[in-house]
Amino acid sequence: MAVKVGNQTWQLMRPPVILETATVAGPLEGEGPLHADYDSIYADPVAGESSFEAAEREMMLNACFTALQKAGLAPSNIDVFLAGDLLNQTITSGFSAQELKIPYLGIYGACSSSAESLIIAAALVEAGFARLVLAAVSSHNSSAERQYRYPTEYGVHRKPTAQWTVTGAGAALVAAPDVAGRLDAAGRPGTGGRPDAAGRARTEASGASGAASTGTPGGSGTLPQITHVTIGKVNDFGIKDPLNMGAAMAPGAVDTLINHFADTGRGPDYYDLIATGDLGSFGHELVVRLAAERGGFTLSDNYQDCGVLIYDFDKQDVHAGGSGCACSALVTFGHLYHRMQRGELKRVLLCATGSLHSPTSVQQGNNIPVIAHAVSLEMTSQR
């Protein structure tokens, strides 16, 4: 059973594993530095659909089905589907759940939804309510832009602190450790491996068999485990400008990091990588300063931001970097998950931030409420 440690953190005693992940990306993300980590890349932002909303739905479903296919599972094998997105009434998630026909719980944590879905998935698995949980999030630049800001073809100067909403979707399969083991024994396709450099799920169907995976009993040693999660509080840091999300959310990330370290007794050095969700270049800078000022700890090279990692700032005109649910999902479920499986990273802390404002709340003069959740992912093969 999980134990609560400190004020905001749960320690998972039988850590659930991330059995499989899938990421699909839009055209701009596909040209970015992490393109090899995506399972599919759309050449067209409308993805052959009739609207941006339908395109986002297609992307979330593609990510979900790809994750299931990679794990050799059908939707009927999954106990719960957790999903979130940025659109009003989280329609992407709801409509995707309608197609998947898996019992569904919708979540909303704005851009922190990736971490929120992992936390709830881990809790459900640890408590025994579910054996296999599919967690998915999505965002789409054009559908978010028209809801939160201006029509896509409207011409304006963008502020240097403005961020670019990531187009894409990510899905992760969270499983109880023994379930992962049993699937391994059954010769699940592609166990422990990752798609080849081209990043295509389809090519690996006949690849490494489950027997090839060398792990601890249950095979879960080769998979990242969710060992600790820290649930964030909503804070108001006095920022109103929705075109400066990095500044709005940075103190939220620091607040959760401070609590995570206090609760677990760990320091920033414990992790090979601490990744915030989508603060962008300016938010990244603020987090480093605030961590020293408020938390009294130094964040060095092992601290990075998904919004910075996902784009090439020299070639891509994205101002301060990426944002949106898909930002942290694409980087964590794609790039970082693969790096963990390759053994390059053993301990990763995902700290995904979210702004819980709406255009209405901003227009009525309210400050931006901010949340951040932290998920500790660890490879613990040597037990």
Binding site: S51, Y154, H157, D236, D241, F282
Partner: protein
């Protein structure tokens, strides 16, 4: 940067104030000089095109200077709308800024981009009503201002 709109709300706490100052100090500043220079160039370019078009209508169609103004601005509006539809306008406006948004090109872009954006919500509830989400306040306040100016004119000039 904080917005000027500030309803009766509790004032910022000390921590919030300190953070706001820090953000203000550290925020990367827009390249004001470059933006102004580009706006100047593009705004001038639009005006030059407008002048050329006016001359064109004046000389080719034998219109008076006053008559030529309307077809000239209609042509500029058409070009801006076409570029919006082709997906080019927003890319140019990223650099041109106010150089394109202050002249009539900006008004055309705000209407066409909205109409395009909400095409999928249907003709009546989409295009028809959402077309004015950006231009609507320009029209409203334009009409109100014109009314007040007209009133002043009527009282003081006659």
């Amino acid at each position: 940067m904080t917005q000027e709109r500030d309803p009766k709300k509790k004032p910022l706490s000390v921590d919030q104030k300190r953070y706001a100052e820090m953000v203000d100090k550290l925020s990367p500043k827009p390249p004001y000089l470059r933006n102004a220079a580009l706006a100047f160039l593009f705004g001038g370019l639009v005006s030059v095109i407008g002048q050329l078009l006016t001359d064109f209508y004046r000389l080719v169609f034998n219109m008076s200077l006053q008559e030529a103004g309307s077809p000239a601005s209609a042509t500029v509006i058409f070009i801006a709308s076409l570029l919006t539809g082709l997906g080019v306008f927003d890319k140019i406006a990223r650099y041109a800024g106010a150089g394109l948004s202050v002249p009539v090109t900006g008004f055309a872009n705000s209407m066409v981009s909205s109409a395009l954006e909400f095409k999928r919500e249907g003709l009546v509830l989409g295009v028809g009503s959402k077309m004015f989400i950006l231009a609507g306040s320009v029209i409203t306040f334009g009409v109100v201002t014109a009314f007040i100016i007209g009133l002043i004119y009527a009282i003081f000039v006659y």
